[in-house]
Symmetry: C2
Subunit: 294 residues, 2 copies
C-alpha cells in the first residue's frame, strides 16, 4: 500500500517503522535455523495491516505511535506465525507466500514449525518486555491477544476452516476466528496503548476491528479469484470452493464487493468519520478498488 | 511417582492439585477439535515434574501452593505443547507418548499442530489471568517463561537436536535448551510466586533447576536404553545414537548414572539441604534408582 496524502497518517512511514522494529525483534541466529526462518517469513514484504491498525488506533486515542510499536509488532509476529503454520503441508500445503517460497519450502517442515513457535512465543516476550507500557496495561494486552489466538480465535477458526463446513454460520465463525479476532485485538490493544479507554471506546474499537477484518477478508477472497499468482504473490485459487471464501456464501464477485464495502461503512461509523481509523478504512477501500480493477 | 513420606511435600497431592487445575484450563471443545486434542495430551498420565518444581519452589520461598498453581500449570502446558510438536512426523515421528497414541496419531497432524499452538498460547493466557499474583510479578514470570521457550530455549534446543551435532558442547546446549531451560524457569518462577526473591535466591533457584534438569535428562536417557516400550509408555530406543542422549557423551549406563547423581548433589547444594526442593531432588534420585533397577 502506498501513502495516501488524504489520510492524516502516513502509512508508508508507519510501515517503515514497523519493518525496522520487526527486524530488531528476532535475532539473526543460525542461517538454517528457526530464527532465520522466522525472519524469512516476518521480513518478507507485507502490508502490515494489523500492525498499522494498532498504531493508528493508539494515535486515534491520543497516544504516541512509539508507545504502541512493540504491541503492533507483536501482533504482526502472531499473524506471521499463523501464516507459517497455515501454509504447512498438513494444513493448506502452500508453496508461495508474499512472493517468496513458504517457510517450510525454504527451510524444511521441522524448522518452519519451530519458527512458528518462536514467533508466537516471541510476540508474548515482546509484550512482556515493552517498556512503554505499565505492567497492568501489558497484562490486559496479553489477555486480549491470547484470547484472539486461542480456542475461540485463530486456532478455532483454522480448525473450522480445515473441517470446511459449508453453512453460512460456519463461514462467519471461520472469518471471525481466522481474521476478525486478530483485527479486533489489533484495534483494541492499539487503543489501550494510546491511553485509558472507556468501556464504550473499547466496544467501538472492537466493532471497528471486526468490520475491517470482515471487509479485508472479503476483498482478499475477491482478489484470490481474479488475481494471477504473480500479482498476489502467493498460491491462489486455493480458496475456491472452500467454505472460507466469502464468495461461496455470496455467490458472486459483485456481491462480495458490496458486502466488503458495507463492512467498511460500518468500520467508519464505529470509529467516527473524522478519526484516523476511518481514514485508514477509506484508504483500504480505495486500495482494493484499484487493485481489483487492475 | 508415589508419595514419599520422608519429604515435607506430599507429591501425590500436589500432582492431584495440578491435574484438577489443568483440566479446568483447557475447554472441552469439539470432540475432534484442537481443544480436545490438547486435553488428550495434557491430561494423559504424566509425572508433572516441572509443575511440581514450581509448587515446591513457591513453598520453599515461604509462599502458598495455591498462589503458584496457575503458573505451575502454565509451565506444564508449555511442556506438553513441546511434546506434541516434537512427536510430529516432521520432528521425531513418534507413535506413543505417556502410554497413549501421540496427538497427531489420534487427531491428525493438522489438529495436533493447532493443539500445540493452543497449549502454548493458553499457557500465556493462564499467566496473564492469574489472579494470585500482581501484574508486575506476572510480567516477570512471562519474561522468564518466554525466554525459556524462545530462540535460546526449547526452540533452540530442538533445532540443535534435529541437526544432531555430535560434539560435547552441542550436547550440553541441546540439554540446556530442550530440558534445562524449562526446569530453570519452573524453579525461578515458583520462587517468584512464593514471594520476593533476592538476586542470590534467584541465582540459587536457577542453579537448582539447571542441575535437576540435567539429572532428569540423564536418567531419562538411561531409562530409554533399558526400558521396554510398555514400561516407559512412549516410543523408546529412538534416542539411541542421537546426540541428545547423554549416553553418547558418557559412553556407558554407569557413567550416565554417575553424572545424574552428581547433578542431583549439585541441586541439593543449590537449594540447601533442608529445603523442600532438596527433598524433591532426593525423591527423584530414589525414584529413578528404583525404576532403573526394576
Amino acid at each position: 500500500m502506498a501513502t495516501d496524502s488524504s489520510t492524516s497518517v502516513d502509512l508508508e512511514s508507519l510501515r517503515e517503522l514497523i519493518n525496522v522494529r520487526l527486524a530488531q525483534l528476532v535475532p539473526e541466529g543460525h542461517p538454517r535455523g528457526p530464527a532465520a526462518a522466522a525472519r524469512h517469513s516476518l521480513l518478507a514484504p507485507g502490508k502490515r495491516l494489523r500492525a498499522v491498525i494498532t498504531l493508528v488506533a493508539a494515535r486515534a486515542q491520543g497516544g504516541r505511535i512509539e508507545d504502541a510499536l512493540d504491541t503492533a509488532c507483536a501482533i504482526e509476529m502472531i499473524h506471521t506465525s499463523s501464516l507459517v503454520f497455515d501454509d504447512l503441508p498438513a494444513m493448506d500445503d502452500a508453496d508461495l507466500r508474499r512472493g517468496e517460497p513458504t517457510t517450510h519450502k525454504a527451510f524444511g517442515e521441522d524448522i518452519a514449525i519451530l519458527a512458528g513457535i518462536g514467533l508466537i512465543n516471541g510476540a508474548y516476550e515482546v509484550i512482556a518486555k515493552s517498556k512503554a507500557l505499565d505492567a497492568e496495561r501489558r497484562m490486559e494486552i496479553m489477555r486480549l491477544v491470547t484470547r484472539a489466538v486461542g480456542w475461540q480465535g485463530l486456532v478455532h477458526g483454522q480448525a473450522l476452516d480445515l473441517a470446511s463446513s459449508n453453512d453460512d454460520d460456519a463461514i462467519d465463525a471461520i472469518h471471525e476466528g481466522k481474521t476478525g479476532a486478530l483485527f479486533i485485538a489489533a484495534a483494541e490493544c492499539g487503543g489501550l496503548c494510546g491511553g485509558a479507554c472507556t468501556d464504550e471506546e473499547r466496544r467501538s474499537l472492537r466493532a471497528y476491528g471486526r468490520s475491517l477484518g470482515f471487509a479485508y477478508q472479503a476483498f482478499d477472497d475477491v482478489l484470490d479469484q481474479v488475481a494471477c499468482e504473480q500479482t498476489a504473490g502467493k498460491t491462489t485459487g486455493r480458496d475456491e470452493g472452500k467454505a472460507t471464501a466469502v464468495l461461496s456464501a455470496s455467490a458472486s464477485l459483485a456481491s462480495a464487493k458490496t458486502l466488503a464495502n458495507r463492512q467498511l461503512d460500518n468500520a467508519v461509523a464505529a470509529a467516527g468519520e473524522h478519526s484516523p481509523l476511518a481514514k485508514l478504512a477509506e484508504f483500504i477501500r480505495t486500495y482494493f478498488a484499484q487493485t481489483i480493477a487492475a
